[in-house]
């Protein structure tokens, strides 16, 4: 249940951007969310509908682009996803790896009228 502060932040940024663009209302909000960011789409939309009420963004639809958790091997460069059991590179077995994707929690665009 931590989506509320997250949603409040989304709303604040959305309203600022919409006002800057002299929009009448916001129709849609496009977000990019990595699977490591622990946000549940349904909860985000649920809180959104509540907090956006009475604002320029009331009724706007949230769209989520979900990005998976991606690891990259620092030895052979292979990119891969976790299977829940192994962390090592599936190609060369190296454990010299880094998380290169999945942390995202940012805006892409908003749709306004």
């Amino acid at each position: 249940m931590h989506e509320l502060p997250f949603v409040e932040s989304v709303l604040k940024i959305t309203v600022e951007q919409a006002q800057q663009a002299k929009a009448k209302r916001v129709v849609g909000v496009n977000l990019v969310i990595g699977d490591l960011s622990s946000m549940v789409d349904e909860s985000v939309q649920f809180y959104w509908d509540i907090v956006s009420e009475g604002t320029i963004a009331e009724g706007a639809k949230l769209h989520f682009k979900r990005l998976p958790v991606v690891f990259q091997c620092k030895d052979c460069g292979t990119k891969y996803q976790l299977d829940g059991k192994h962390l090592a590179c599936p190609k060369c077995g190296s454990t010299h790896v880094a998380i290169v994707g999945g942390d995202e929690a940012h805006f892409e665009s908003i749709e306004i009228e």
Binding site: H2, P5, Q17, I99, H106
Partner: protein, 223 residues
């Protein structure tokens, strides 16, 4: 009236990160070292903190902040051993965030505190996403949770500076492969400090406390 799309480059958690930064500046202004303990429910955060306090009590002036969904039990346990503790009831929220912490800080006389110990809400999923402004983030894992946790919750292990494996007194009774666990931790966070402890028996505390004291003393310029 047509619809237009405008591109927006903003990070959603920037607001939290900015307040975390402000929290840290506040700590730095009073030279207060802040530690954030994170773990799943029941891993032993309070038990580890209470024992840690016993070791450090004569050396530092301490205070505690306890994040809990609804009760004040853990803050009361700290207060009972003489550590002034502030409870943050998150009202159902599953982690502490920088805003909640900043709301609690005025209740603490930080200028009289060398070491602020923060017990985050018991949760392995999200506390790592919400920085607090602490100087040291420590993850406590415990033997009954199983040795596959780094593989399932990689994020929690990434941002922390140390992992404590607690409840090692239970190792003889459970199938817990310390090497497998440790390998996972090491992959996610190479070089991170790793200690095996039991808050029940006190096993392993010397090495962990030595390390911790060093972290604090370097910050306080006492080293």
């Amino acid at each position: 009236m047509g619809t237009r799309t405008i591109s927006v480059v903003e990070n959603i958690l920037d607001a939290n990160d900015r307040i975390a930064q402000a929290n840290q500046e506040l700590f730095d202004s009073t030279k207060t070292f802040a530690i954030n303990f994170m773990a799943s429910p029941g891993a032993g955060k309070t038990s580890v903190i209470l024992r840690t306090v016993q070791y450090l009590n004569s050396r530092y002036r301490m205070a505690g902040v306890d994040g809990d969904v609804a009760t004040t039990i853990d803050a009361d346990r700290m207060a009972a051993i003489g550590i002034p503790a502030v409870q943050i009831n998150t009202g159902g929220t599953c982690h502490l965030d920088a805003v909640m912490l900043s709301g609690a800080l005025p209740k603490i006389e930080l200028s009289e505190v060398d070491l602020l110990i923060i017990e985050n809400v018991g949760n392995l999923i999200c506390p790592a996403s919400f920085k607090l402004g602490s100087h040291l983030d420590v993850l406590i894992a415990s033997v009954p949770e199983g040795d596959d946790k780094p593989y399932k919750y990689p994020k929690m292990y990434r941002g922390v500076k140390a992992t404590l494996l607690n409840k090692i007194d239970l190792l003889p009774y459970l199938d817990f492969d310390v090497e497998y666990f440790r390998k996972g931790v090491e992959v996610l966070n190479p070089g991170l400090a790793f200690f095996q402890i039991s808050a029940k028996t006190g096993d392993g505390f010397e090495a962990y406390i030595d390390w911790l004291r060093n972290q604090i003393d370097v910050y306080l310029e006492r080293a």
